[in-house]
Symmetry: C2
């Protein structure tokens, strides 16, 4: 008879009690007799009643929703295959905690206004930022009472919760590993864009080559395209003192370079060794399989969810910076020399 979904009033009428009773039963306020509890629950079941989020949100001033903000854009991020697992972890943990997951890209949302709609209008209880966080945006977000968290990125020096991997230490590990394998002349390649992970990883490379006193023959370069990277590598292979190893900021870059290098007739790892980063699925399927750094990204996701939830529960707690451990995965793209 009623086209609209049933509301708490309908349930109360059907269960012959007050709406307060229904609410108490559903929210486990425990002061209701077992008999009515059962009766109310059965009525809800029968009528297919679920409390409307609109009413609850308004009344409770909570939305049970977490916003995920991608920088710079959703599409840009989805393209980076390793975010899959992080999103999986996030979704699992948030769903378990009975929270929704709102998605937005930074560029589009903020083109017109200073903050994304869902933040302006209070549609979320907290925000997780992924892919980076431009300073200027960080400032704006700070003016908001909204808890937020940087996931797989960080704003060094800023008092913001964050979860990252230790890219610095990981690249130190890789560099030391290469050194152990006899490599001395190395090249590290990154993209031209500024990115927390790329920067810290390169810093790790530079710190360790310096410590090993290889800095005169180690070098970091930034490239626009795979072609550029390959050209730069070949240049350094044809010198009198050719490089013997190339490090990259992630598996994707490594794989692209790898194939184009091979297409140019250069054998890996015979002529030059290569390392990746992230241990994305396909890094074990390249020829040769990539030696890389593994990070449990599902864990990053679940930990991220937990952290933002706990921050919401306790806004005054001290800032937390959590580091997810990494491991070096040894495959066949590095030769002992």
């Amino acid at each position: 008879m009623n086209p609209n979904p049933p509301n708490i009033k309908d349930v109360a009428k059907a269960a012959e009690c007050s709406i307060a009773t229904v609410s108490c039963v559903l929210n486990e306020r425990g002061r209701i007799s077992e008999a009515t509890k059962v009766r109310v629950r059965e009525t809800c079941q029968k009528m297919g009643y679920f409390p409307s989020s609109a009413g609850r949100n308004l009344r409770s001033r909570r939305t049970e929703t977490i916003g995920i903000l991608f920088y710079p854009s959703c599409a840009h991020i989805f393209r980076d295959i390793f975010y899959a697992e992080m999103m999986g972890g996030l979704e699992e943990e948030l769903t378990q905690a009975n929270h929704n997951l709102l998605l937005a890209g930074y560029d589009i949302s903020t083109q017109q206004q200073t903050l994304p709609k869902f933040i302006r209008e209070g549609s979320v209880d907290g925000v997780i930022l992924m892919g980076g966080c431009p300073d200027e945006f960080n400032q704006r977000l700070r003016k908001t009472p909204l808890p937020f968290l940087l996931l797989d990125t960080d704003a060094p020096g800023a008092a913001v919760d964050s979860i990252t991997s230790d890219g610095f230490r990981a690249m130190v590990d890789i560099t030391a590993y290469l050194h152990n394998k006899g490599h001395r002349r190395m090249l590290m390649i990154r993209h031209c864009t500024d990115n927390y992970n790329e920067i810290t990883r390169c810093q790790g490379f530079e710190a360790e080559t310096r410590r090993l006193e290889l800095d005169s023959c180690a070098e970091t370069i930034q490239v626009q395209t795979t072609e550029d990277a390959v050209r730069e590598i070949i240049l350094r292979l044809n010198r009198p003192d050719p490089i013997t190893a190339v490090c990259t900021v992630n598996d994707d870059m490594a794989a692209n370079i790898l194939y184009q290098l091979q297409a140019a007739g250069i054998r890996v790892p015979e002529q030059v060794s290569m390392t990746g980063f992230d241990n994305t699925g396909f890094s074990q399927n390249t020829c040769p399989p990539l030696t890389t750094i593994h990070i449990d990204r599902t864990l990053m996701g679940t930990e991220g969810a937990k952290m933002i939830l706990s921050r919401i529960q306790n806004p005054g707690a001290p800032v937390r910076k959590q580091v997810i451990p990494h491991t070096l995965v040894e495959r066949e793209s590095v030769k002992t020399i």
Copy 2:
């Protein structure tokens, strides 16, 4: 003084008018003098006021939010690289239309309950399903007054809005193309899971080989792993009448097979030709670059957004099944024989 964000009452007081006036100004109800309009707008600006979504949702019975439901899971989908562009298109169009985007995976969300939280609690105005839609779930969703749309998948015969590419026709095109190039003995490979796109694509292959009377030497097989695929291919290359072409259901599969085939010493396209599907970014970077089918997935996303929005606006309109056009992208993985 007030720790909470300002509400419409605060604005009204500051602008020395009633809350009704504020509401009318903000919602362009046009019956307010230009002078007060300006005054109210300035006050909003000054106070940093934005209407709370909670209040609006409750009153208007609309959430301005679209739910995206992934089957089977978020992680599973994010892994499929080509969803990036679709999500980009979706996000762009929805944001432009002032809508939020709520995300959930099918498996996790529905583990505990029959429908995802955001559907049960009326947190969205419509749902877009991606990756597939199990019959049983379709049924449940139908019991809901909620508009929904199948994006890049379809439930054949069901009266549900959908946007798909014409995988059937596209594989017909590929098969005819191979036939033109002199190929007669072909193998089509798909995964073991049931999936709308894989099924229709294979049907296209089968229909066209039948039409060309190649069905005695054309075959479709399902494989669990790349290794399986490669084994099956090599088996058929070593027969007296070896196959000359292998078709796949997507670029990803094609690339994986390609590399393992080459690792096994088989040259492509000299010994066997290969085709992909989807024209994902990396398909032009394989060696050799893949001949494949291009589908404008950003367009799929934007069209999907438009369709669900128009469905929400007009629930009674006839069901629409929209097909996004495709084109054959000729590269170097097919040899003329």
